[in-house]
Structure formats: structure tokens, C-alpha cells
């Protein structure tokens, strides 16, 4: 029994936090999703079983929202990882006193409060004479309505790319300098060195950033909420997590349906778990975890 006491003590506090702030909400969400709790039934909710899920999957717009989610996550992910990699490579190739400020510049969108950041985007995309883009292109249009997806993906991507950039930059710096020397002596050009030596050595960081960002993009909706609020038109850029928010907390008709929103969130949790398991499998998580250096 004593054998288990020390690890238990060490893992206790963290386990408690996970239990309290992760596990409990998930269970609460699940329980909520089996009720018809809404503004109208707030004082006397009743148990409805799977009715919320039935309604959800009968919703004719579900397909569109699912497609929107796939498009949003897929394209933003591609931008984040690709741009992060490009930025890391470019800023590592140029001298440090150029690369460092450039990287700092790319952190600005992340540091700005989302509301301010989105406000800038809206201003830039507005009609002339206010909008910078309209001004530059010479065509006065509200580009947020014309090309909502470009706006949503870029606004998210400009924030997200810096994450990959930081991770990839430190990974590139961890590559021993002699490997670059060896590649040059072996006859590789800069591009060949990147393709044949650097990128293969970044395999793990790339997988990690991809996995991490997939999960966070699945559940993040604040920039879309602020930028288009799911529009333009009917569910133009409405994604799964935003829809759950709309149903549960901000319904146009005033009757917010907590139960239905909870059902949507529960489905998202399932999707998240499935995606995590998939990534853990290709990560080969067991192989990555090294033996502990300390005996307990």
C-alpha cells in the first residue's frame, strides 16, 4: 500500500484539478444534453432521453455546419502549419538581428485583445473610403461579405501561425550546426538542405503542432463570432462550436436551449476524443515517452 502512496500524493493535486475543471463539466454537459432545459422550461426541466440528439441529427442545416467546420478547421490548420513553417525557416535563414524582430512582429496578433484585433480586420475589409483593402484594390466592396471565408481563415491564421513559428524555430535551432555544414559539403543547396535535412528532422514538431491546433480549432469560435457571427446570410460561416454557443447561450428567438446546445457540445467532445486518439496513434505516443529518470 505504501508503494502507491507517494505517486498518489504527487499526482493528486493535478488529478483533482482535471476532475474538477475538465471531467465534471463534461459529465454535466452530458447530463444536461438529456434534458429539455431552456429559458421556457428553466424551473421545471424534464428528462427527455435522446430527443435532443434526434432533433440535432434531423436538423437540415447540420450538414452545412459540419461542412463549414471541416472547411474552417482544415484550411486554417493548413495555413497555420504551412505559414508557421515558412516563417520559422525564413527567419532562421536570415541573420538573427533581422529574424528576431520579424518573429516578434508576427506575435502581435496573438497579443492583441481579440475584439480590437477583429475590429481592425473589419475596418480593413469595409467599403471605401474606410476600408484599406477596397482602397488598395480600387473596388469598393464589403469584403467581409464578399469573401467571408478568406477573412475568417486569415484572421484566425495570422494568430495561429505564430504558434507553429515558435515551435518550429526552436526545433530548427536545436539541429546541430554541423549537420548544415555537412549538407553544404555534401553538395546540397539551401532548398535541398531544407527539403532533405531540416523538414524530416521537424517531423515530430509538425505532427505536434498539427494535432494541437486541430483540437483547439475544433472548439475555438471567438474570432468567427466577432468577425461574422456565423454569417453572412444563413449560416455562411457557422461552425459546430459556434452553433452550440448560439443554441445554448445566444439564440435569436430569445429562447436559448441549454439542453440542445449541450448535446452539440457533447458530440464535439466525442469528435475531439476520436481525433486525439487518431493523433496519439500516429504520434506513437508510447515510443515518445521516455523512461522516468527518478525512481519513486
Amino acid at each position: 500500500m505504501r508503494r502507491y502512496l507517494t505517486p498518489f500524493l504527487f499526482l493528486g493535486p493535478a488529478s483533482l484539478l482535471i476532475l474538477l475543471f475538465f471531467f465534471t463539466p463534461v459529465v454535466a454537459t452530458l447530463l444536461l444534453s438529456f434534458t429539455d432545459l431552456a429559458t421556457t422550461t428553466f424551473r421545471h426541466p424534464s428528462w427527455v432521453g435522446l430527443a435532443n440528439y434526434r432533433d440535432l441529427f434531423a436538423d437540415p442545416f447540420l450538414k452545412k455546419i459540419l461542412a463549414n467546420t471541416a472547411r474552417y478547421v482544415g484550411l486554417t490548420l493548413a495555413f497555420n502549419v504551412g505559414m508557421g513553417l515558412l516563417l520559422a525557416l525564413v527567419t532562421s535563414l536570415v541573420p538573427e538581428n533581422w529574424g528576431d524582430p520579424f518573429r516578434a512582429l508576427w506575435l502581435l496578433p496573438r497579443i492583441l485583445p481579440p475584439v480590437v484585433y477583429v475590429f481592425i480586420w473589419q475596418g480593413m475589409l469595409a467599403e471605401a473610403p474606410m476600408g484599406l483593402v477596397s482602397d488598395l484594390l480600387g473596388v469598393s466592396k464589403n469584403w467581409l461579405v464578399e469573401t467571408p471565408w478568406v477573412a475568417v481563415i486569415l484572421a484566425n491564421g495570422f494568430v495561429g501561425a505564430s504558434f507553429g513559428m515558435l515551435i518550429f524555430t526552436s526545433a530548427i535551432r536545436a539541429i546541430p550546426r554541423e549537420l548544415f555544414y555537412a549538407a553544404a559539403v555534401d553538395g546540397a543547396t539551401t532548398l535541398q538542405t531544407i527539403r532533405r535535412v531540416v523538414i524530416p528532422m521537424l517531423a515530430w514538431p509538425i505532427l505536434f503542432v498539427t494535432a494541437y491546433q486541430t483540437l483547439s480549432l475544433l472548439t475555438s469560435f471567438e474570432y468567427i463570432l466577432l468577425l461574422t457571427d456565423g454569417g453572412p446570410g444563413f449560416y455562411g460561416t457557422e461552425v459546430w462550436s459556434l452553433h452550440a454557443y448560439h443554441l445554448a447561450l445566444s439564440n435569436y428567438f430569445g429562447n436559448v436551449e441549454f439542453g440542445l446546445g449541450a448535446a452539440m457540445a457533447a458530440v464535439l467532445v466525442v469528435i475531439g476524443v476520436v481525433v486525439s486518439l487518431f493523433y496519439l496513434k500516429i504520434f506513437n505516443f508510447r515510443a515518445l515517452v521516455t523512461e522516468p529518470k527518478i525512481e519513486v
Binding site: 555537412a182 559539403v185 546540397a188 543547396t189
Partner: protein, 350 residues
Amino acid sequence: MSRGTSVRLQNLTKRFGRVVAVRDLDLEVNPGELVAFLGPSGCGKTTTLLMIAGIYRPTAGHVYFGDRRVDPLHPRDRDVGMVFQSYALYPHLTLFENIAFPLRLKRVPGEEVKRRVKATAELLGIGGILERRPAQVSGGQQQRAALARALVKEPQVLLLDEPLSNLDAQIRLSARAEIRRLQRELGVTAILVTHDQAEALAMADRVAVFSMGELQQYATPEELYHRPKNTFVAGFVGSPPMNLIEGEFTGDGFRSGELRLPLRQAPLGRGWLGVRPEHLRIAGEGHPARVLVVEPLGREAIVIVELFGHRLQILVAEGEKPAPDAEVRVAFPARALHYFDANGRRIGPE
């Protein structure tokens, strides 16, 4: 395989900011020769090697391979092979692909790549482990793979940056002989950077001794040992190092405190006396000294004595070692003495 070219460095200088790493270096390596760059860390030997490889651009001066000026060229256009101290094998590639890498970049056809990699690997005795990755083989095998990668493209010049210093002492000795044999067989011009004077003396046709970014002496191992040009070379080459005693030339001899040695023709002024530990004799006659420490090395022993306030190392045969604290007499054989002036420059016959 190809015959090596000559390498000529002309007024080669490299500055990093305000630090001068290599100053005004002139040096020529003959075709097929193995030259060692020897010196302590930070002396400029590796910087020089990287300028020959084309990794660093010289601040001033030129590098020639034969008649071809190569210092403006990218490393890939220089036809050099290089082995690094850390071996710098690509961790994500098998040994086969590591060795094949330079050939793949040259777009050599697949069949020929296979043939040449196999042949080079056989030459180095790693033919059986080509499907493994660097992390799955021993340090000695990694070193051979790195050497194979450098040799597979049949370079004119082979550059070796401390290739042996990460090996176990035992493998190091056999790897020394192995590299020397291969280099002779292939006739490739080779430059070996090392801080180990024994390695430099054992392997090289000629040795260039560096200190503080400047070439101190460029000579055969025998010459370095018998006629060191200055006190730095005298103290760096040889193990244990030469004893150096600061003193004064009196016209007819050398004096340092109570130690007086007669000299037939001697200059005047301050200077240094140098004598190798293996040339000092513990004998019946000579100057009185007291034994401080005896370090047995097996076949011989290092005896550290105090003589008129100077500490001297003496190498004696195992059977002749005195007891600690013994009072002995130390003889200075006149023919084995080296003299240097106040600036450390050798005095006497070149």
C-alpha cells in the same frame, strides 16, 4: 580513385567582429599529403578548415586547390569531403542513405549509387549494417559511416575535424592507423584538425602548429620534436611537455637562480632554456634536486623534482625510478638543450 590536389592558403585571414580568428596564414599542402593542424581550442585551426571547406568565407586572402582559386566557391563546387567531430550523420536516414547522400544530390543513377556506397562501406568494414540508422550503431561505426560519406564522392581533398576525439581510447588507436592507410591508398590530400599532439605526430606527414590564430611552425613531426621554433611549440609538442626555465644568458652560459649551465656561444639578455623530460638524466653527477612525486606509467615513470626552485619533469625507465623525497642529482646533456630568446624564439642552429 582520384588523386589528390595541392591546397594552398595565401594570406588567409578570418575576423569575427573584432576578434581575429586566423591571421595572415600562408601554407601549402602537397598532393596526397596528410597535414595536421594542431593547437589548443580557439587557436584558429577549425576556422581555417571551415574556410578550406567553404563554410566560412575568408575576410581576406585566398584558397587554391591546385591552380584553381576556390575561396569564392560554394562548398558543393569545391570537391571536398569532410568528417566532423560529432560525425554529423543525418539521424533520419539509414547509414546507406547517409553515405549515398552526396551522390543523390549529384543525381548519380541508382545502380551506380548502390555500387559505390557498397564498395566504400566494404572498404571501411561497415557493409553489414547499412540498413541501420546512426542511433542504432556504435560510435566507431558512426565514425566509419561519416568517413564513408566523405570518401564516396571521391573528393580531391579530405578534411577531418577532430574525427577521433569522440572515440574510446582503444578504438582511437586503430582508427588512426585505419585512416592513415586509407588516405595513402586513395592518394587523397588530407587535412586533419586535432588538439592531440600524439595523434598529429603519429598520423601526419607534416604538422602545422597554431596558437592564437597564427601559424607557429609548419614542419615534419621529427623537426617539430627536435627543433621547435619557439617556446609555444616546444611546450605543446611532446608528452610530457618540454621543461621550460626562464633565465638569463650571460655570454658564456645560461643562468637561472643558482642553476648555471655553460654555453660555447651564447647571446646576452633574458631567455629560456628548454629540455625534454626524456633527455634529463638522474645520475651520479649533476645538479642536486629533491624528488616530489613519482607517477608510474607502466613501462616508464614521470619523476617530478625540485631543482633550485624549478619544478622539472623527468622521464625515467620503470626500473630506475627513485623513491619520493629522495635527494638525487640531475644531469643536463648539452646536446639535448634548447634555447629561446626573451620573445620565445629559438636560438641556435636551425
